[in-house]
């Protein structure tokens, strides 16, 4: 049970986003991929669930090469992966409970009563008990993320992917989402990939942290190794120093540098 990303390359037009990215995540492990906005973290995550196809390299989940899977094989693989979107991506036209049960409707053996019970159980697991009849528009940002997570775990996935799970949340809600991610790992035993630019959150939840820089896995290590790294790019990102990160010199202004 693992996610293996090998030499992943992806371009959009002339712009090369991923230039040979490698990563591995196993059972009961949270691997965080960090980097500034726009470096391709979400693009990377979308390859894992087959929403994007690589130009070169491969993503292997549970022994299946995602880029070569189609039709029912890809659908089966996707049922083993829970994806928590950056802005939750809840279906506006449905209630929260219907959102959570959406993936189960297509599966064999799931009666409406069973789906309802499972949706309620998942909502309770993320702290949203009794909110199943609400509409997504009636939820706060943190509640929407929780509802998105409830939908992702409804099918008891073996893998969980989080796209910027704490972006736009206040510090208290961020901490509760972080704790939720740790609980999901411990209770479900899932292999987890988290892409984030929130280093506080990454240090709190990750077993291993990979810095995505210039389309590659620039640095991979446990949180302590990342904290003590002497690499200027790593230090620049962790300390939020643009001069170090972009190589224009510590503390120097960064006019004209990409952000």
């Amino acid at each position: 049970m693992s996610i293996e990303i090998r030499g992943l390359r992806k371009s959009f037009g002339e712009k090369e986003i991923l230039r040979g990215f490698d990563l591995q995540a196993g059972e009961n492990e949270i691997a965080a991929i960090v980097g500034p906005s726009g470096v391709g973290k979400s693009v990377l995550l979308k390859h894992v669930v087959g929403l994007l196809r690589p130009d070169a390299g491969s993503v292997v989940v549970d022994g299946t090469t995602v880029g070569e899977s189609h039709g029912s094989a890809l659908a089966d693989l996707r049922r083993r992966i829970g994806y928590v979107f950056q802005f939750a991506a809840l279906f506006d036209s449905m209630t929260v409970a219907e959102n959570v049960g959406m993936g189960l409707r297509r599966a064999a053996g799931w009666t409406p009563d069973r789906i309802r019970a499972r949706a309620e159980a998942c909502l309770a697991m993320v702290g949203l008990e009794g909110m199943g009849s609400r509409r997504p528009a009636d939820l706060s940002g943190g509640q929407r993320k929780r509802a998105g997570l409830a939908r992702a775990i409804a099918f008891s996935p073996k893998y969980l992917l989080y796209d910027e799970p704490t972006t736009g949340l206040d510090p208290v809600t961020t901490t509760s989402i972080d704790r939720l991610m740790l609980r999901m790992r411990d209770e479900l035993g899932v292999a987890t990939l988290v892409v984030t630019h929130d280093m506080t959150s990454a240090f709190r939840v990750a077993d291993r942290i990979t810095l995505l820089h210039e389309g590659r896995a620039w640095f991979t290590g446990v949180p302590a190794e990342v904290r003590s790294s002497g690499d200027p790019v790593v230090r620049g990102f962790v300390e939020g120093d643009p001069g170090l990160y972009y190589g224009t010199g510590a503390g120097e202004p960064t006019a004209g540098r990409p952000r």
Binding site: L51, D76, R78, R79, I81, Q86, A89, R106, R151
Partner: protein, 272 residues
């Protein structure tokens, strides 16, 4: 005195020419890419019809949204079109042609042209814009991606039921509009013109051909298919937030209206 070409002027003209050619090239290439993407979506939609379990539960709600909810606006337009047709026909024919030809003109025009085309254009605005805005918003808020991660085929779940609903319901709405248009023309002839019911009915039946109704149905089926397909294509091709949703909605309405008018001419040339 003729101005002489200087090197600077020649270079400017050359740049302008190449710039223009490049713009045309980009336009043609963009258009061809759009046709390619639309064709791919068409093929995927055709294939998705096999996934009955995915689109069938959505069909009835979509038929209600596309068809039933469009009936009031379609009938409103048909009512006034029928009245205006009746009055204008009377104005045109008075003193030269027997007045019962008002019935001929109203019925023929409503069945062959105004019923299906006005309904098509109205629904291009109402239904096409609605579909494009809804799917566009779903696209930019990653709801379409979310469907895929939940093992749904977005084409089977979103596109197939909408296109089927449009193809089935447009002719129903158009036939209702034709009926109401003729009825309102009839009432206008009785109330506002010096015509009897018998005269109007005589005109109504004079050149009536059952084929005319089939012609109306064929046109409406094609318009329903076009409006919903273009709406789905523009919606799912949306990029870039609220502005992108607005752009794709406008594109859906303009493109489907143009295709409706083009098809109108094609059907007239081919079927009449």
């Amino acid at each position: 005195m003729r101005p002489t070409a200087t090197p600077h002027r020649t270079a400017t003209v050359g740049r302008g020419l190449f710039g223009g050619l490049a713009a045309v090239g980009r336009g043609v290439s963009g258009g061809l890419a759009g046709v390619g993407r639309a064709s791919r979506l068409g093929v995927a939609a055709g294939r998705s019809l096999g996934k009955v379990g995915m689109w069938a539960p959505q069909l009835s709600p979509q038929m209600a949204r596309v068809g039933v909810a469009s009936v009031p606006i379609a009938l409103f337009i048909a009512t006034f079109t029928g009245i205006v047709m009746s009055l204008q026909a009377s104005y045109t024919l008075t003193g030269t042609i027997p007045l019962y030809f008002v019935g001929v003109l109203v019925s023929k025009t409503m069945i062959l042209e105004l019923g299906p085309v006005l309904t098509g254009l109205t629904l291009a605005g109402r239904v096409g814009a609605n579909i494009s805005a809804e799917l566009g918003t779903m696209r930019v808020t990653e709801q379409v991606d979310a469907l895929e991660t939940l093992a749904y085929d977005p084409v089977a779940y979103l596109v197939a039921p909408r296109v089927l609903a449009g193809t089935i319901m447009f002719p129903v709405v158009a036939l209702l509009a034709v009926t109401v248009g003729i009825a309102s023309g009839w009432v206008a002839a009785l109330q506002l013109l010096d015509m009897s019911s018998a005269e109007f009915v005589k005109g109504l039946r004079l050149f009536f051909e059952p084929w005319d109704v089939w012609f109306c149905v064929i046109k409406s089926v094609s318009f329903g298919f076009v409006v919903t397909s273009v709406g789905c294509f523009c919606g799912l091709s949306t990029r870039g937030g609220a502005e992108g949703v607005g752009r794709s909605t406008t594109r859906a309405v303009v493109a489907s209206s143009m295709i409706i008018l083009f098809l109108d001419a094609v059907w007239a040339a081919v079927l009449l």
